[in-house]
């Protein structure tokens, strides 16, 4: 992939924004989450991803431990473009988390794909809020460049 648009990572701050209103999640308990997106996609534990054409490949980032719990992101790359991204693992420990996540995850998914149109190599932003989340998506994108 050329000029992969790593600034997509910034979209994850949507998650952070929403997570920042509650305080305690036990990162060890992050479950294998089914993240429902706008398009009705579900992220199972399989590796095939959504794109069923031959050219689509999925890359899963490392799970990153944040102070809110573990986060993991998967992207689907087709013809050098990110066609989909999913959060495959989010902190999901109590009802409030579920409300937050079910709201935040679709934002992340749709904005990440939209962000593909901009040709950006790296992103600079304030660290504190998003470093863990950035890490996971960045990791996924970087794998597309391996």
């Amino acid at each position: 992939m050329r000029r992969i648009t790593t600034w997509l990572l910034s979209t994850v701050s949507a998650l952070v924004l929403l997570f920042s209103y509650h305080t305690s999640t036990d990162s060890g308990a992050a479950a294998d989450v089914v993240a429902e997106s706008d398009t009705g996609t579900t992220s199972g534990s399989g590796s095939s991803g959504r794109g069923s054409t031959a050219a689509a490949k999925t890359y899963t980032g490392d799970a990153v431990t944040t102070r809110f719990g573990d986060v993991q992101v998967r992207i689907t790359v087709q013809n050098g473009k990110i066609t989909d991204s999913e959060v495959t693992q989010v902190p999901w420990n109590d009802r409030k988390d579920q409300e937050i996540n079910s709201y935040a995850v679709p934002i992340l998914n749709s904005e990440t794909v939209a962000a593909q149109s901009a040709n950006i190599d790296m992103v600079s932003g304030a660290t504190y809020t998003s470093q863990g989340y950035i890490g996971s998506l960045q990791s996924a994108i970087d794998r597309a460049n391996l």
């Binding site: 490392d62 992340l108 901009a118 504190y128 809020t129 470093q131 960045q138 994108i141 391996l146």
Partner: protein, 259 residues
Amino acid sequence: MITAELPVTPAAPPPPALARRAWVEQVMGMPVSVHVRAVEPTRPDLEAGVARVFAHLRKVDEVLSTWRADSDLLRLQHGERDEAHAWVADVTELCLEAEDRTDGLFRAWRRRPEGRLAFDPTGLVKGWAVGGAAAHLDVVPEVSYSIGAGGDLVVGAGPGPSAAAPSWRIGIEDPRRPGAVARVLTVRRGGVATSGAAARGAHVVDPRTGLGITRSGSATVTGPELLWADVWATAAWVDPTRAERLMVQRDAAYSLLVV
């Protein structure tokens, strides 16, 4: 059409196609991405250079971490040893210089809850470390690189004809609209650092009041060295007007972008 009529002249060879390759490792408590562009990014000398970048950062973490109880810095502070890696002294001096250059808008001393002042160089160490690590790629020929570390980054190139190195497009995150990019900077060499409060405030403390800064927005500084870009970004987040005035006087090679 017309070209068929023209005499064949030995044109300058087209610039070689550059391939892109990325590495990422979790080090110093954050994911660090190294992206390179080179004709052949699988070259062993290039891979060795990238390995030295990460090794450098791991070493910095061993010496200067404020989270690892076994770091030189903390063992020194806890009185568990008398000598430390020379980097501890280097960083201490740089912190003093940063405080001086910014008229105290940057400070590496934090007040503990019980009131005691503690030396905490964390705000300077990242920029210093990533800038220092990048030097390992400055000596690798024919490569252009960009290293991102938790929102701060350094861009550069090794020696060789690709000194006409490709530029990197750096998106500055919009602190008020998650997922959006406020500006795009094109950088060939140098550092880009952003300080601010994207979604959650108060990780930078105003040294004049001891209070966290809670307004929204961010300050980005670009310039030759990530270390000073980072210091000035922190200062500019504390007081944009004053920091910019000082920066123009003292570090004219750096420029500020407030978002």
